[in-house]
């Protein structure tokens, strides 16, 4: 087990989540270092998405603590977590389907816009100048993710692979410190997966964004991550470098099943 290092950006400490009789997470501890790409793997129902939901404030743990940048933030609501600099994408793409791609990505800037929500409605001039400034930033992201051609298309009409990319763009628009990606490559073909891998690596390298992702495709996980944590039945069963985790007997058992001879 990896000791908690001092440069940990996020520390999950003994977190447990229970839904009725189901213990979705059980005493899970995890340390995410600043600047790394960590992959969370595990069979279906292992608690990966639950862990992500806990980190992003959608669920609150029944036990344990979460520290982000050294401060405890266990009980914050999702929008407060977002304000701390944690952005996320969802397993089943959650875009604003009726809005254009550009508008979708602009919503990601909401937190970066100054001024109160209520005042903004009454206050025209500065709001407009601000809007242009944010628009310029969003255009950079659009270029970065190579989605110039679809900027005016309503998000709901895009093919799945592109929707995932737009969702990533919206998360990036918030300039997050920590980016949580829930199966960013699910349902994609090989080419789309390669693109997505490249984007994730570029984001990590160019913006220094720390990334935690859930992924099933082992070759992808081994290729892009610095750090891998494996869950099974709500417990962490392995934690280390990709090579360490790949060779771990508990992980192999979880994926292939154990023969009880």
């Amino acid at each position: 087990m990896r000791p908690a290092t001092t440069n940990a950006l996020l520390e999950v400490d003994g977190v447990g989540v229970r839904f009725g009789a189901v213990q979705a997470l059980d005493q899970v501890s995890l340390s995410v270092r600043r600047g790394e790409i960590i992959a969370i793997i595990g069979p279906n129902g292992a608690g990966k998405t639950t862990l992500l939901n806990v980190i992003s404030g959608f669920y609150h743990p029944s036990e344990g603590h979460i520290r982000f940048e050294g401060r405890d933030r266990t009980d914050l609501a999702p929008y407060d977590v977002a304000a701390l600099g944690i952005a996320r994408t969802f397993q089943n793409v959650a875009l604003f389907k009726g809005m254009s791609v550009l508008d979708n990505i602009m919503t990601g800037r909401l937190l970066k816009m100054k001024g109160s929500f209520l005042l903004d409605a009454l206050y025209w001039g500065p709001a407009k100048a601000q809007e242009l400034e944010h628009r310029a930033f969003v255009e950079r992201i659009i270029d970065f993710l190579e989605i110039q051609a679809i900027r005016k298309t309503p998000a709901g009409r895009l093919p799945y692979g592109l929707q995932k990319r737009v969702e990533l763009a919206r998360a990036l628009a918030a300039e997050p410190t920590l980016l949580l990606l829930d199966e960013p490559m699910a349902g994609m073909n090989v080419e789309e997966k390669e693109d997505m891998c490249r984007f994730i690596l570029d984001v990590n390298r160019e913006f220094g964004t720390t990334i935690a992702l859930i992924e099933h495709d082992m070759s992808v996980v081994m290729d892009i991550s610095d750090h891998v944590a494996a869950l099974d039945y709500g417990r962490k069963i392995a934690d280390g470098t990709p090579d360490e985790v790949r060779g771990d007997q508990a992980v192999i058992d979880a994926y292939l099943g154990v023969s009880h001879v």
Binding site: F90, L95, D103, T107, L118
Partner: protein, 312 residues
Amino acid sequence: MIDLLYGAFVGPFRDMLTAPTFLAEVLIGGVAAGLMYSLVALGFVLIFKASGVFNFAQGVMVLFSALTLVGLMERGVPVVLALGLTIAVMVALAFAIERVVLRPLVNQEHIILFMATIGLSFFLEGLGEMMWGANVKKLDVGIPDESFKMAGILINKLEMTAAATAAILVGVLAVFFQRTKIGRALRAVADDHEAALSIGIPLRTIWVVVWSVAGIVAIAAGVMWGAKSGVQFSLSLIALKALPVLILGGFTSVPGAIVGGLIIGTGEKIGEVYWGPLVGGAIENWFAYVVALAFLLVRPQGLFGEKIIERV
């Protein structure tokens, strides 16, 4: 038999062509009434979009705001100040509703929130009557209920003012929704709650804002209808007329609420005037519901509503 066919398919159109000024007057009356329906429907749409709650209390909010305004004016408060205070009351109400009704019931079934709004409507009705009394009140906003002629067409001043105000309000709301940061946040919440939370939109603030806006829209509707027919309990029933408008326009569409209101408003006036004699009148009372029923059969999502697709 021939007379009946003539009365249904020929006579009305002949009447329209032979007296175009009268037709114009009927149409203007219809548009004016339609815009007022739109205003009430708009209040529903705003709340439904942002919180998925069908606000049964919207009609009572119309009554409550009108009662508050009249009550204040009866106690000698000048019109402008009374209007400002009424707005303040409706915003305060929005805060209270978020705190007392919505927050404890978040993530409950829609039907539970719907029932909560039924409770809210009884509460508001009672509160309004307790504070301001139950008798019919005359609301005089300083616009005379008289008519003038323009290009040979008789136009009612009050109706014109009401229509113009409704049109301006609708325009302002459209800009608010499309162009401002908070408008974008509102659309985001309407589209996907989870995603909206993940990008840091404070849901509670948004709810307070939509309920406030719905309250202000209710004031506008209350003033218009109140000035026309007095402030009384039946004001809350115009919400019933908004229901067919919503079915026609779609529950989630702002333009739908406007167009739906106009179609219902003009449709029922024209039906009443030209086809009324054929069936012995009173078409105005049921026209909206028959149109709504027809729409439910052919296009249940309404003119502008999101298409209902069930994944199987």
